[in-house]
């Protein structure tokens, strides 16, 4: 049984089909990668899968439950967490507090208890602080335990978002270009981190341009272009898929190919695939 299943999903912005008639399923425990050129609709897809956007067509089923049209916090409560391509750090809080916010669903309590700072809440707060610190160490942020978030470097902020998402104890974690802007050492550490997430039993959806990372960690790859599925399969199959290669190398570019004859775009995708 699949953890997440998408059927005929579509999202229109005015006349633009950012995502169109997309169907796929993600098995529990997998690392499922989504690749495609800039503007292919990857971020839009993640926004659909977390309720940030409402689909214009199709359905999203998580553990066979229909979540289409629900609010983002309801997706989170079902066990879907994410990071953002353009960071969404709470810069008005410390790094540790950012991760503590991630534990909101486990920690939330009645208003009276919050206003009166009940002893039970005080204990829970101490435990929450401890667990948040533990998660920061887990993602390699042990040096930032007492940092204010607006003084942290970009690479650390990206990991802070992963720690915050992990704090929600998700079943499914969506990472939107986690390697973008990282130096090579940091990118290598990311391979390891994604591996550990997977070992922890978290199913990972990885949107990424870094092909070394994608080819190394993925169980399954979905290739998107113009919001449509171009190919789907294990890393090796996708890489060697004659249809993908043909399309990517442009040997038979006609108005019927998925690029609509856009040579520049086909070359861009091909270059990216070979990187």
């Amino acid at each position: 049984m699949s953890l997440l299943r998408v059927e005929g999903l579509g999202k229109k912005f005015g006349g633009v089909n950012a995502v169109e008639d997309l169907s796929f399923a993600i098995a529990p425990g997998a690392v499922y990668s989504i690749i495609g050129p800039n503007g292919a609709g990857k971020t839009t897809l993640l926004n659909l899968l977390t309720g940030v956007y409402r689909p214009s067509a199709g359905q999203i089923l998580f553990q066979e439950q229909d979540l289409t049209g629900r609010a983002p916090y309801e997706y989170a409560r079902q066990g879907i967490a994410r990071t953002f391509q353009n960071l969404q750090i709470f810069f008005n809080m410390s790094a540790l507090e950012n991760v503590m916010v991630g534990r909101y669903m486990q920690e939330r309590c009645g208003l009276a208890s919050a206003l009166l700072h009940s002893p039970r809440l005080a204990r829970a707060e101490r435990a929450c602080r401890e667990e948040a610190a533990e998660l920061m160490r887990y993602v390699g942020l042990q040096d930032y335990l007492s940092s204010v978030s607006d003084a942290m470097p970009y690479g650390a902020l990206k990991r802070l978002e992963i720690a915050r998402a992990l704090a929600t104890a998700p079943k499914l974690m969506l990472l939107d270009e986690p390697a973008a802007g990282l130096n090579p050492t940091e990118a290598l550490e990311l391979d390891d981190l994604i591996g550990r997430l997977s070992d922890r039993g978290v199913t990972v959806v990885l949107v990424e341009h870094n092909m070394r990372l994608v080819m190394g960690v993925s169980d399954q790859i979905l290739v998107l272009d113009y919001g449509r599925k171009l190919a789907e399969g294990p890393a090796l199959t996708v890489r060697n898929d004659p249809k993908v290669i043909e399309a990517y190398l442009g040997s038979a570019i006609t108005p019927e190919t998925p690029y609509g004859g856009d040579v520049a775009r086909a070359v861009a995708v091909a270059v990216e695939m070979q990187r």
């Binding site: 977390t50 309720g51 940030v52 609010a71 983002p72 916090y73 997706y75 989170a76 409560r77 967490a81 994410r82 953002f84 969404q88 750090i89 709470f90 810069f91 008005n92 809080m93 507090e97 503590m100 916010v101 991630g102 534990r103 909101y104 669903m105 920690e107 939330r108 309590c109 208003l111 208890s113 919050a114 206003l115 009166l116 700072h117 809440l121 707060e125 929450c128 915050r164 998402a165 704090a167 929600t168």
Partner: protein, 330 residues
């Protein structure tokens, strides 16, 4: 071993700040020479209570309100009408009024808080104006522009009258108001408010229902304003629409911003400074408002985060600079 956590606790806003505020309230009467001084101090306390609630909404949750004088007014008039016209016991009048204001805030907050930024400002401004209009036109109940007199507050046979008693009552309530606000901010709900202020989508995707939290803090801030309004009515023995007007809403927001957004003690300091300053400046007569304006502009230029957060930051960076200096020596 034991001293360190103790010291840390004393340095925390909840314990240390509350103790400092309690000390100020306890010692201030030494400097209050006559009942006029007490009167100003009580006014500061009541404004501070409103500002603490308003700061939860504006400073922490990032939602503007230009209509909070309306909730203050509803509290004042609710208590005045129930206690004076209908002879309710003041405590019952206060509780019933507070509950009614909470329900009203809950009902109007739902559609209003969907708006953002300037649109939210306009909507809350409109809400304040509607409340003002109702109070001035329903003169059968409210006395219209002339206002109405209010019976003194009494609990059982004990009558609260005179500046000295009111000073201690308002002082104690101010401490409670600060304590509750500090507790809320340090709770999961408080973190949720600060989170949605910074990134609403970031907050939602960790499971926070942003709309619900905005509504909650809107109701809490309305309740703070309403209770302060009820007390102000009983204390002064008279209510007029002046304190319900738009200008008062602006004054309240100004106090919050001046003291420092997202700082509970900042709200208290803002209320204290901007309530006493006009009294101090009375000697400048015609130039009073000009000096007042100049002080405001100067503060916002030199302490852009508001008085308390800016000074705290300055103090912190001095201290860490000193610590670095020591580290270099050793």
């Amino acid at each position: 071993m034991l001293a360190r956590p103790m010291l840390q606790r004393l340095a925390s806003p909840r314990t240390g700040g509350l103790l400092a505020l309690a000390a100020v309230i306890a010692l201030l009467p030494l400097a209050l020479r006559n009942s006029y001084f007490y009167d100003v101090a009580i006014l500061v306390g009541l404004n501070a209570i409103v500002c603490i609630g308003l700061n939860l909404l504006i400073g922490y949750a990032g939602q503007i309100s230009l209509g909070h004088a309306g909730f203050f007014g509803l509290g004042a008039y609710g208590s005045a009408i129930l206690a004076s016209r209908y002879g309710w016991p003041p405590t019952a009048a206060l509780l019933a009024t507070t509950l009614a204001v909470a329900v009203l805030a809950f009902i109007v907050g739902r559609p209003i808080l969907r708006l953002r930024g300037h649109y939210l400002a306009m909507a809350t401004l409109g809400l304040g104006i509607i409340i003002f209009m109702i109070i001035t036109t329903e003169d059968k109940f409210t006395g219209g522009p002339d206002g109405i007199s209010v019976v003194p507050f009494r609990i059982g046979g004990f009558v609260l009258q005179g500046e000295h008693i009111w000073y201690w009552v308002v002082g104690a309530l101010l401490l409670v108001a600060v304590w509750l606000a500090l507790n809320l901010i340090e709770s999961p709900a408080g973190r949720a408010l600060r989170a949605l202020h910074s990134s609403e989508v970031g907050a939602e995707v960790v499971g926070i229902n942003a709309a619900e939290h905005k509504l909650m803090v809107f109701v809490i801030s309305a309740v703070y304003a309403s209770v302060a309004g009820s007390l102000a009515a009983h204390y002064s023995g008279f209510v007029t629409p002046g304190k319900v007007a738009f200008l008062h809403s602006i004054e309240l927001v100004t106090m919050v911003v001046f003291g420092g957004l997202a700082s509970t003690f900042g709200a208290v300091v803002g209320a204290a400074v901007l309530t006493t300053l006009p009294q101090l400046l009375a000697t400048f007569e015609d130039y009073e408002m000009m000096v007042f304006g100049a002080v405001m502009i100067g503060t916002m230029i030199f302490l852009p985060r508001g008085v308390v957060p800016s000074l705290a930051r300055l103090f912190k960076s001095r201290r860490s600079a000193a610590a670095d200096g020591n580290a270099e020596k050793t």
